[in-house]
Symmetry: C2
Subunit: 363 residues, 2 copies
């Protein structure tokens, strides 16, 4: 079956760029043809992804760059921290890379977030390209320019907004993705439905088995529609003044789970999946949606194979972790809630109500 | 004697801001009146500056912010590195600071560079204000948005462009500045003459004794004219594509001295002073200016009390360090040279010629 190359544009004036979505893009020379010229390209990847795709990307880039170097990071969310970021700087400096060097983030969200942050900071900024190889990165983290490392006190606390030159989402890279990671990526796909497009939620419900079975046409549609919604939001609110926050549906609860358990115990998408169940229930308890819609969200999360019951960290620990969420203001947590099917907003909620949600969905 | 408040605007559209220059600005409530409202302000300073000015700034800010916290860093260029930057993040997170928190950099270039970088990265960006208390920071480092930390392999290698909301240059803070630091600041004042305004160089030559004696009117003029020149350049080339590089006259040699000796052995301004002597000589050897103009630059640097002979690191070590300069491209060093009195540009130079310059001015 042939999948055309799809192109979604992120309209941010001089920082605007395209997301390319298609099968086999990684190897095609024309994927990289109009990137700025420079002496050096550096592929940043991890120990799992490197043996799968690094040589192919290196070969494709050799047409454009005199030197194509490779930096291999350890794998996993636990390494999304300063010591790992600094190994990128060390390697760039040891290789004498100048400020026209182009970085390529080859991997999932952790690699993308750290490479984008490193690109922002190396010599006060070098360009970079996202080459996401996980579903989660293709539908969410590689798009929109959020970069960060974690801090022991909170996820993604240290970072910058730094848009890439391009996103290259090669569907074929999903072939080797472990099933647990594919399912974690589905959490971010599901997210786009309740917050922005109830019709898309219906499509996901109808195609969930095909997505889990990695049907290429289903994946291509899910990725394209996810990127379209994200592009629309990011173009209107690049630096998350408010609107963009809706893309964090489920993330306030989810980040608390991730940080509370220690990074890497649950995958990010697993935290988001369970967090959406909690946030949907909170929306219902706030009287914004009826219980049936919250149940519909819970049901698609569960059918995807994602966790719907959070770890028993205790209500007070959850609240403490969530007060440090980046959306919080003056110590008050602001939750992304569903205001109506396909529409989200930011709301405060009484601690007592949040406690009820946590008691109902942890254990 | 009464010194009026001078205002120099940095024209960067929505990122534009004012530099306020005057005596006693630190304490005046109206210095801070139209800053964005937020629950928290955090003053970042160091152990030397804190006892001098922190309480006064804290009192002035208490009118506008419900909480005004203080973070005190160790003093010195040797601490302009990740561990110190991370103490800022730790303190902000421990205090539950949200992303409307405003940071105030109270101190010299090291405090300003680290606070600006921390502001760029904390929760992907909080606003900050520069309150420079050294001459070097008031005429140069607090203006223009360059922020960074050092890396063992090179100065200012890790950082971002991040413009402050305002620069508050209170002349009275210079009263307590050690003479060695005042003189180091004069290096950056002198710099603006040969690169942009030969008439200003003449004014500096005529007023050098007054500046060294901290005559307030002379300092006020030197700071204002320096900021005007910097504002003009930064407005035309915020991210240093080329024009802005002229402000790094003397810095390629100077950074090599600083990095080669270990951070903090020479002050930054001392490295720049000696580096200008070298870069002026290189300009003469390239046939761009006559030897008399290079000698004139050497003479004003020497009269200021700055070093004019660099440490004997060896030619090859100097070249190695300079090849990692951020202006270098593909391993070729680009020097800021004087093309004519009051005009600078970027040039490559043969290693053999640079070696002659180094042999003549080190020992």
């Amino acid at each position: 079956m042939h999948i055309d190359v799809e192109r979604v544009h992120i309209d941010l004036a001089e920082r605007g760029y395209d997301i390319l979505i298609g099968a086999g893009l990684l190897d095609r020379a024309d994927t990289y043809r109009d990137l700025p010229a420079g002496a050096s390209a550096v592929i940043v990847t991890n120990e799992i992804v490197a043996p799968l795709f690094a040589a192919r990307l290196q070969a494709a880039l050799a047409n454009r760059f005199a030197n194509v170097r490779l930096i291999v990071l350890p794998d996993g969310e636990a390494h999304k921290a300063w010591p790992t970021l600094n190994t990128i700087f060390d390697a760039l400096l040891a290789a004498g890379c100048d400020r026209k060097t182009v970085l390529f983030a080859l991997g999932g969200g952790v690699v993308g977030d750290m490479t984008g942050f490193a690109a922002a900071c190396y010599m006060r900024g070098v360009p970079y390209v996202q080459v996401p190889t996980t579903l989660l990165a293709q539908v969410d983290s590689s798009v929109g320019g959020k970069t960060a490392i974690n801090h022991p006190r909170g996820k993604n606390m240290i970072g910058v907004f730094n848009q890439p030159l391009r996103v290259v989402a090669d569907l074929d890279t999903l072939d080797t993705l472990p099933q647990r990671e594919l399912i974690a990526g589905l959490a971010e796909v599901i997210k786009y439905g309740p917050v922005a497009d109830d019709g898309f939620l219906g499509w996901i419900e109808a195609n969930l088995e095909a997505l889990k079975a990695r049907d290429k046409a289903a994946l291509a549609h899910a990725i394209k529609r996810s990127c379209e919604i994200k592009a629309w939001v990011v173009a209107r609110d690049e630096r998350e003044n408010d609107l963009r926050a809706i893309l964090n549906f489920g993330h306030t609860f989810g980040h608390a789970i991730e940080t509370g358990l220690g990074y890497g115990v649950w995958l990010h998408g697993e935290g988001v999946g369970c967090g959406m169940v909690m946030a949907a229930d909170l929306s219902a308890r706030l009287g914004l949606i009826d219980a049936a819609y919250a149940q519909r969200i819970r049901s698609v999360v569960e059918r995807a194979g994602l966790p719907v019951v959070g770890p028993a960290l205790g209500v007070s620990r959850y609240l403490e972790l969530m007060r440090l969420d980046k959306k919080a203001l003056a110590g008050e947590i602001r939750f992304v809630v569903i205001e109506a099917p396909g529409r989200a907003g930011l709301r405060r909620a009484p601690d007592a109500l949040v406690a009820k949600v946590l008691e109902a969905h942890t254990g």
